[in-house]
């Protein structure tokens, strides 16, 4: 058993090292990719705009649940007016970036991984190499950048819709005072809270995009291989997101 554990640890370390090397290869291609920004914009559309509906719907429901639960809890202490600040802090610092990242991994990450895996399986990447076109430069870098740009924007939209959902339940349905809801939120949410949310969503964007393009690009060129790459994308992205969430939260603690 210890031998098996050691093997798995070594495999994980090797995999992480390969991923970091792949990241450096991607970063080396970023300056040239910026010169052809139309390719990046297309990927922002694929990863971002096409994920909007699921992000907005999820944000609304998460906000509404937060409004309900928060109202019930705060009512016990007679401080329902604090619902605005509670919902905003919870969404901007935590739920917005984390849930968006999990949804992003499930929607855009799997799409990226399976697309790249299928390109590998159908020789499209080899064909590019034969046309003297570096597939990492032409295909991977724009998708990576598209994911990084889309992720914080999606997290911001998620938080915004979530706050609206909390307001809908708290103010419209439960009768919390509208003025208190908004004014407490404005006075209680600091720039550092928003910054924490932005840093988290940026970090999650890098991690989820990297994992998706790495898994897809290195997928075994078979139906089973592409399926495995897609599954690994979701699982690895989810675990990495939650791990990074803890690290960044600890970093921002005063």
């Amino acid at each position: 058993m210890p031998g098996e554990l050691r093997n798995r640890l070594v495999t994980t370390l090797v995999e992480t090292g390969a991923m970091v090397r792949f990241l450096f290869r991607i970063l080396a291609g970023v300056p040239r990719a910026l010169l052809r920004f139309d390719l990046v914009v297309a990927q922002v559309y694929n990863a971002g705009a096409l994920s909007l509906v699921i992000i907005m719907l999820s944000g609304l429901f998460v906000g509404m649940v937060l409004g309900l639960q928060g109202f019930q809890l705060l009512q016990r202490f007679g401080s329902e007016e604090a619902l605005g600040i509670a919902a905003a802090i919870g969404l901007v610092k935590e739920l917005g970036p984390v849930v968006t990242a999990l949804l992003f991994a499930g929607r855009a990450g799997t799409a990226l991984a399976s697309e790249l895996g299928l390109m590998r399986a159908t020789d499209q990447l080899s064909a590019m190499e034969m046309m003297a076109v570096d597939p990492v430069q032409r295909v991977v870098v724009p998708r990576f950048l598209g994911g990084i740009i889309a992720m914080p924007l999606l997290a911001a939209i998620f938080s915004m819709i979530g706050i609206y959902g909390a307001q809908l339940v708290g103010v419209q349905f439960m009768g919390v005072d509208s003025g208190s809801f908004w004014s407490q939120m404005r006075s209680g949410v600091d720039l550092v809270d928003v910054t924490e949310g932005i840093v988290k969503s940026g970090a999650f964007g890098i991690a989820c995009s990297l994992i998706a393009v790495y898994e897809g690009y290195h997928a075994e060129p078979t139906a089973e291989g592409v399926g495995r790459a897609t599954t690994r994308t979701v699982v690895t992205s989810a675990v990495t997101t939650l791990f990074l969430d803890y690290l960044i939260t600890a970093m921002f603690l005063k």
Binding site: T122, D123, Q124, M130, M131, A132, V133, D134
Partner: protein, 276 residues
């Protein structure tokens, strides 16, 4: 072994004492061959003999374990990544399934190498793309997506893409797999016509003995990591070599055995009975 005269013909690809192993399994052991410029050269051989690997070695996608691969007089081992890419701009390759980029339409697929490597005006790109599509008979399919093409059409579009940069060498990896007789005939005619009209060198890997022999100038038969026969299609078809006769005649058993290596059949059956 048959011998094909290459007198007065310059070689475009030379392979010298090539060894190639994957996970300690030897694919090529001392392979030597020369591909002449301006000809249609076919590679045949049983499955798993490394024909596609040979193409990967010629195009620099894989490096040999030892030995030399010279393309247009340049040893691929001496080239950097940029050098390999520069050399590949002088080659075109048709993959087994066409390998068209599925998010681009036919026009953009054919225009892809031009957009990546040149800064030609849009008007000129359009004319070049339409010229190449006309050559493969698919100018009318310019707006279709790859998913809307039949297997034969996809391969013809891929062929148009492969010749868009006017390559010196055109490589075909199993170009007839899964094609109906009409599409196969079209691709066969295109291989010959493009080779002669553009003055290029064509390298074809195929299992379709009769078809490829009808257009090839030279044929290499690979087996067990070596060239076991080479010559003109006529020489190959009249060969008395057992392996050549098995391959050309499509015989199930011969030097390439029907049975995968296994223990004694009866012993294994009896052992099972005893176990029950």
């Amino acid at each position: 072994m048959l011998c094909w005269e290459t007198v007065n013909e310059s070689a475009i690809v030379e392979i010298r004492d090539l060894h190639y192993a994957v996970n300690s399994r030897l694919i090529f052991a001392g392979l030597d061959l020369t591909i002449a410029r301006g000809r249609v050269t076919a590679f045949m051989g049983p499955s798993g003999t490394g024909k596609t690997t040979l193409l990967r070695l010629i195009t620099g996608q894989t490096a040999p374990t030892s030995g030399k691969v010279l393309v247009a007089g340049t040893d691929l081992a001496t080239l950097s990544r940029d050098g390999i890419y520069a050399l590949r701009q002088r080659m075109g390759m048709l993959f087994q399934n066409g390998a068209l980029l599925t998010d681009l339409d036919v026009f953009e697929n054919v225009a892809f190498p031009l957009r990546e490597h040149t800064r030609l005006p849009e008007r000129l790109i359009r004319d070049l793309v339409l010229t190449k599509l006309q050559a493969v008979g698919l100018r009318g399919a310019v707006l279709l997506m790859p998913g809307e093409l039949s297997g034969g059409m996809a391969r013809r579009v891929a062929l148009a893409r492969a010749i868009i940069m006017d390559p010196e060498i055109l490589i075909y990896d199993e170009p007839f797999v899964g094609l109906d007789p009409i599409s196969m005939g079209v691709i066969l005619r295109l291989i010959r016509r493009l080779n002669d009209a553009l003055g290029i060198t064509s390298i074809v890997v195929s299992h379709d003995v009769q078809e490829i022999c009808s257009v090839a100038d030279a044929v290499f038969l690979l087996s067990g990591g070596k060239v076991v026969a080479q010559g003109t299609p006529q020489q190959l078809q009249s060969s008395q070599s057992e392996i050549v006769r098995q391959f050309v005649g499509g015989l199930a058993d011969g030097p390439v055995p029907f049975h995968y290596p296994a223990g004694d059949y009866y012993t294994e059956l009896l052992a099972r009975d005893e176990a029950c």
